[in-house]
Subunit: 379 residues, 2 copies
Amino acid sequence: MENFLAHIPTALHFGKGCVEQLGEAGSRLGKRALLIYGKGSVLKNGSYTDTKKQLESAGIAIFEYNGIKPNPLAEDVDAAAKTGIENDIDFIVAIGGGSVIDSAKITAVCIATGASAWDVMKMKVKPVSAIPLIAVLTLAATGTEMNPVAVLQNPGTREKIGYRHERLFPAHSFLDPAYTKSVPANYTAYGIVDLTAHCLEAYFGDGDASLSDRFVEAIIKEGMEYGPMLMKDLENYDLRARIMWAATNALNGLTSYGRLNGDWGVHALGHVLSFLYDMPHGATLSIVYPAWLRNMKNRIPDRIAQLGSQLFGKEDADAAIEGLEAFFSVLGSPVRLSEGGLPKESYDDILKLMNENECTGAARELDNDDRENILKFMV
Amino acid sequence: MENFLAHIPTALHFGKGCVEQLGEAGSRLGKRALLIYGKGSVLKNGSYTDTKKQLESAGIAIFEYNGIKPNPLAEDVDAAAKTGIENDIDFIVAIGGGSVIDSAKITAVCIATGASAWDVMKMKVKPVSAIPLIAVLTLAATGTEMNPVAVLQNPGTREKIGYRHERLFPAHSFLDPAYTKSVPANYTAYGIVDLTAHCLEAYFGDGDASLSDRFVEAIIKEGMEYGPMLMKDLENYDLRARIMWAATNALNGLTSYGRLNGDWGVHALGHVLSFLYDMPHGATLSIVYPAWLRNMKNRIPDRIAQLGSQLFGKEDADAAIEGLEAFFSVLGSPVRLSEGGLPKESYDDILKLMNENECTGAARELDNDDRENILKFMV
C-alpha cells in the first residue's frame, strides 16, 4: 500500500428535495452568484427553477452564463469567467452534468486568478486559487461533484485534457436523483459506462491496494445489478438514486487510496473520439475499454483474470473482457466504432490523432503498435 | 435509499512517516498545543517522540495530559480540559487509540464551551463548539480518526455512552501503520473484531442501501483475508496497513449512507461488560455479536442469510453466524463469557445492568426477554 491523503472538503447533499438546503449554503458563501449551465435539460427537469428559487429566497443576486457544450470548450469558460468578473460575483452555482461542473471549476480559478482557461488547464497558473463552487448535479456519470478534477477541450490545440487541483473540490454538491429521471436512455447508459470505466482506470493503476480493489468490485457490481434494471425503467427514482451514488463513489478517491496512480489510458484514447467526432464520453469508453483489455491480455493476464473472478466469478481474462463488453451492450452503449456511427474512412484520422497526442496510460504505457492494435479491436 | 449528507472535513494522512506533515498542519491551527495520551505504548512505539519533535520544530508550545484510561472516563476529560484552559491552548493533539482520541474530542468541546465532560455527553451543551483536534492513531479499531463520534463512561451514573456532533471531526488525522506494529496480539484481534462489528451495526440498521451493503462486504472480507495473516505476523507493516485502513472505513460513514440508522444494540450490550469488568471493547463485541445474531435469527432470517451469502458464499443464516464466530475465534478473541474470563457468578449482574440501562438497538428493539436470551447464548 502506498501513502496517501484522504481529504474531501465537499459537503455532498444526497436525495429527494436536498436542493432545499442550497439557499442556506449559498448565503454562507456570499451575496452574488454566477449560475452556469448548458442548454435545455436543466430548464425542464426542475433543477434550474429550484436552484434559482433557493438563491432568490436567500437574497442572493444572480448572474447567468448558459453556453456550456456537452464536450466543454475552454473558450466558453473564458466567456463565463468574463461574466463573473464583470459582475463581481462571490461564488458559482453550476447546474448540470460533468461538462457544466467541470467548466464551472475552471471558471472559479479563472475568476480568482484572472488567468485564461487554457493556461489553467496547462498548469501555467501558480499559485492556484478559486472562488467557491456549488454543484447541482443532473447527470450520474463523472464523479466531478466530489472530486477536484476538470476536463476541457481546446479545438485550437486539438486537445481534450484533464486538470486536478485541491482547490477544485465543490464546497457543496446537491444530488437529487429525481433531476436525472428525464435523462434519455443513451446518456443514462453512457453514465453507467463512465462509472464502470472510472473504477477500471483505478483498478489498472500501479500498486497493491486490496480494499480499493474490493471497492471497485462493489461499485461495478452495483452498476451491473441496477444499471440494466434502470434502462428498462428510466423514471424509477430508487434506481436513479443507486446509480447516482455509485457514480459519485467511482471517482471520489475511494477506488484509488493506496495505489501509486490510476491508468487513464482508455480515457486518453476515448478523448480522441470525442474531440474528432463529438462522440459522447461514455460511448467512447464502451468502445475503447474492451479493445484496450484485449490488447493488454498478454501483458497483464493475471490482473484481468482477477477482475473476472471478482465480477463474474470466473478467474479468467476472457471472461472479464467478454463480461464487461456484454454489460456495455446490454446497456445499449456501443462497443465498436461502427456501432458508434463512425465510418471506416474515419479510422486513419483516429489513429493519427491518437499517435499525435501520444495517448497512453500512467501505469500501462502505450506505443504506436499498441494504439494500432487497440484500433483494430475497436473495429 | 434515504437522503443523507456525506461530509468529512478531516484531512486523513496515511502511511509510513506521514507524521512528518504534522508540524506544518499544527502551525496552521495555533501556537499552543495540549498533548493528550494514555500510558506506556505511545512512548515506546515512536509516535510520542515523532509528534513532539514535529510540534517543537514548528515552534509550538506543548502542554500535556497523560491520564486517559483504556475505557475512558469523563473525569479524566474534565482534568485534561482544566489543563488546556489553564494554559490557554489553541488546539489538541491526541496520540493513541480510540479511548484517547474520543477523550480528546470531548476535551475540545469542554475547552471551547467551559462545560463538563458529562454535560457534553448528555447533550446539555448548546451550541456546541470545539477547538481543533489533530489525531495520531496508534491502534486500528474504532474509526474515531475519521468520524464525529466519541464514547466515554461515567462510574457515577453507571453508564458508557456515545456522543455524535459534526464539530467532533478531527481537523487532521495521521495514520502510520508502523506505530501499530507493537500492539499485542489480543488488542490486534480486538481491533479486527471492532471493525467487523462496526460494519455489522451499519448492516443491521434500517433502510435499503445496496452500495453500503457492498461496502460492508468489502471491508469485512478485507479483515477476514488479512486479519488471520496479521495475527501470525504482527510486525508486518503491509498487513498492519490493510487492517488500519479497513478499520477507518468501517466507521467513517461509508457503510451507512442511504440508511435510516445503524443498529448499535450489540455495542450497547457490550458496553455493559466493559463497564462492569473493564473488559476490552473488542472482546465484548466478539462475545455479544454471535449471541445477538442467534437471538435475531427468527426475527430477521433473510437479512442474516444475505450476510451469509455475501461473506461465505452461502445464503444461510447459520452459515453467517457460525462463520463470523469462527472468524472471531481464529483471531483469538473470546466468543463466550467464560472465554472472556467472567465467572458464572457475574451473569446476574450483567443481565441486571443490561436491563437497567435498557440496552437496545435503534433498528432492532430489545426487551428483557431478548436480553436474557442473548445472555444465554453468551454463556
